[in-house]
Symmetry: C2
């Protein structure tokens, strides 16, 4: 699939508050869970609220276990409209007998406080699966949360959606449609339980551009495929993943209603938002010290290229070798060889590239002799590219991942406490 991407963009500050007419806030309402030694010492509840009704679209996890908030959000935006987002961390409100009831209650609390209807609210939760969500802290926290809403509240909201994230992840861009300056901004939470081929992690995007709900969903569906769905941290697909976008239309452009040039400009902006968030997520993979970009070309088709790239970035042996900065090229052939795709190994070659240089490691199915010192220089960098050519066609794909480290094991051996 070739994305429609046209127009210039300019990166700006402000995350989900960058676009005109979006307020946000985050507070520490005091959520905790069984097995935790302390309650979170950070914000754990956030709101994003638009000044006016928005077109809304979302993509959800493909896991058959779906968090209760996912089910409720699906229902609420089935009309393509939304006005606000309420989201908590610490507790995922998933695999609970009363999950849907609690998620509905969160919407009701937000709606009451904001003077909206529950159906106007998008709800999301992230954290430990399978523990009943205590609603009291949320009921108590909603008032100060709403009272503190501001056009500069993106950082407070962003803190509230983080779990094992070590870095806040947000980005915003300006672009022009129909002579009007539009703005789009997004924030993302996620560093573990992340695997491609599904909407990955919690991502919230706002824009003041005017676009129909149908075209908003179309743009999101297309962009997710080549950004968030191309990231893997650990091969685990979360139960609560969701990316949602609200478009208020206050920028005043002619409403985008078909796949024309304006749609291309909009999609280009969205692509740049989500590409950057995807890369930030891979770089901040649980325990990760390095970002890996695997670009496959010369495939029979794009799908084959994607399967091969994902096979490499998800290989535990490959990921360990990146952490160890050890140019064990055979492992790359190994991961290409077990990818579920039609590949002629005797035509496969690859290089590794970083700021430290470029080194050819494999050619026509054989590992090359290489200078260990040069390889060390390439692998010592924080961002590393693996460029693979399959020699069989014009298909290509790029995927992102990270290294596998002691800290990944540490973080996940004791996540609850």
């Amino acid at each position: 699939m070739e994305l429609k991407k046209t127009g210039d963009i300019k990166f700006v500050k402000g995350g989900v508050c960058a676009a005109k007419g979006f307020k946000a806030n985050g507070v520490q309402c005091g959520l905790s869970h069984a097995g935790a030694s302390v309650t979170a010492k950070k914000n754990d509840l956030a709101l994003i609220v638009a000044d006016k009704d928005c077109a809304a679209a979302a993509v959800y996890t493909t896991n058959k276990v779906k968090g209760a908030p996912i089910l409720v959000t699906k229902k609420h935006i089935s009309n393509g409209r939304a006005r606000a987002v309420i989201v908590n961390s610490v507790n995922a409100n998933t695999c609970n007998p009363d999950g849907v009831e609690k998620a509905e209650k969160m919407c009701q609390l937000a709606a009451d406080e904001l003077g909206l209807k529950p159906e106007d609210i998008i709800v999301a939760s992230t954290g430990v699966i399978g523990q009943v969500l205590p609603i009291e802290p949320i009921a108590k926290g909603i008032k100060p949360l709403a009272e503190g809403l501001s056009y500069n509240g993106n950082a407070a909201a962003l803190e509230a959606i983080m779990t094992t994230d070590t870095r806040p992840k947000e980005v915003a861009v300006e672009f022009e449609i129909d002579g009007r300056i539009c703005t789009m901004g997004g924030m993302l939470k996620g560093s573990g339980m992340i695997h491609p081929n599904m909407a990955t992690t919690l991502t919230f995007i706002t824009t003041d551009a005017d676009i129909s709900p149908e075209m908003l969903q179309r743009a999101l569906d297309d962009v997710v495929k080549v950004t968030l769905n191309r990231v893997s941290v650990d091969g685990d697909t979360s139960t609560n993943d969701m990316v949602c976008i609200m478009a208020s239309g206050t920028a005043g452009n002619k409403t985008v209603t078909k796949e024309d040039g304006d749609f291309g400009i909009f999609q280009n902006a969205l692509y740049n938002i989500m590409l950057n968030l995807a890369r930030m997520m891979a770089r901040d993979g649980e325990g990760a010290t390095k970002l890996v970009e695997c670009a496959v070309s010369g495939a029979e088709n794009d799908k084959t290229a994607e399967i091969v790239a994902k096979s490499v970035i998800t290989s535990s042996l490959f990921k360990s070798m990146i952490f160890g900065e050890d140019a064990n090229a055979g492992r790359i052939y190994c991961a290409i060889g077990y990818a579920d795709a039609d590949v002629d190994i005797s035509k496969v070659s690859f290089d590794m590239v970083s700021k430290g240089g470029r080194i050819a490691l494999g050619k026509d199915g054989c590992v090359l002799e290489f200078d260990e010192e040069e390889a060390k220089k390439v692998l010592a960098e924080e961002e590393i590219q693996v460029l693979i050519t399959l020699g069989s066609g014009g298909g290509k794909a790029v995927c992102w991942g990270c290294d596998l480290t002691y800290d990944y094991v540490k973080i996940n051996g004791d996540y609850r406490s």
Copy 2:
């Protein structure tokens, strides 16, 4: 698939030398590879030799990158016969331009020394992928290796096939066919780059039972599916995996030539050999501290049960939680939910069991409240079972895995040096 399994077995000592008429030996010939700081300080070259010509069968890796020894062995046993095995560790002789030539040369060296034809020899290599195999150490080592062959040489041979293995893995059984006592023994190498759905790791099995090559292959094919193919350490499928079996017939039973009761007895013996080797391999997974057995029942069919069991044991988050002894039950639902199988999550329940007790963690799609102290007792043990019921039929499967630990990362971050 239901295995034909009848008859009694008795565990005996001797590994690949347990069966009458099989000699073995291992020596340190001094193989090394680029990037290694020292040569191996252990045996690295082994022979297993039968006193007489044997029926032979093998199952190979499904990786499209196949080690050169695999290609040569396939050719050599295409007639269903073999007499000896030569195998080295340290260097996998894979992804090299001259790999097949070197593998043939290894067979030639062994054949010359043993007075056999190269076509009588099974060849295998394991170790680093993509480095040219130096043939000189093997040419020099073959003479002392052959001269030292003995009916008690199993331990020396076993040491020679180990790489990151921390424990020798061998097992042997006696059984009775047609009034004759038969013996079968096997040894296995493998602890990383191990994933189900293909022949896994290097395994060598010998028996003095009399069986046709066709039935030998049939028995092996069936047993591999429910033993070695049900183990995952890290989701990586090796390029050099092979399990081979030689049956000399010196026990004197009437040759097994069809799927009758005698075949059931033979297959039962083989199943017990390979089941034990498979469990040993999972327990000795790279860096592992615990063996995990995941038994799924109540599935629509056996295939669904297998897919679900594999999804759980391969989940990095599940494996990390086992290491951390943290009963994070939501992760088990999560891994079941993203398994590529038709599962009604609202009917899924599971318990965890060990010598430390039994604890119900999930029921009908919801995580149960449980006593943290009881859970800790269950998880503190070295062998842990996860019993999952899908509530949808009579299909079942058992798979084996291990925990994900700091040491896995350490071992694989710096495997070559």
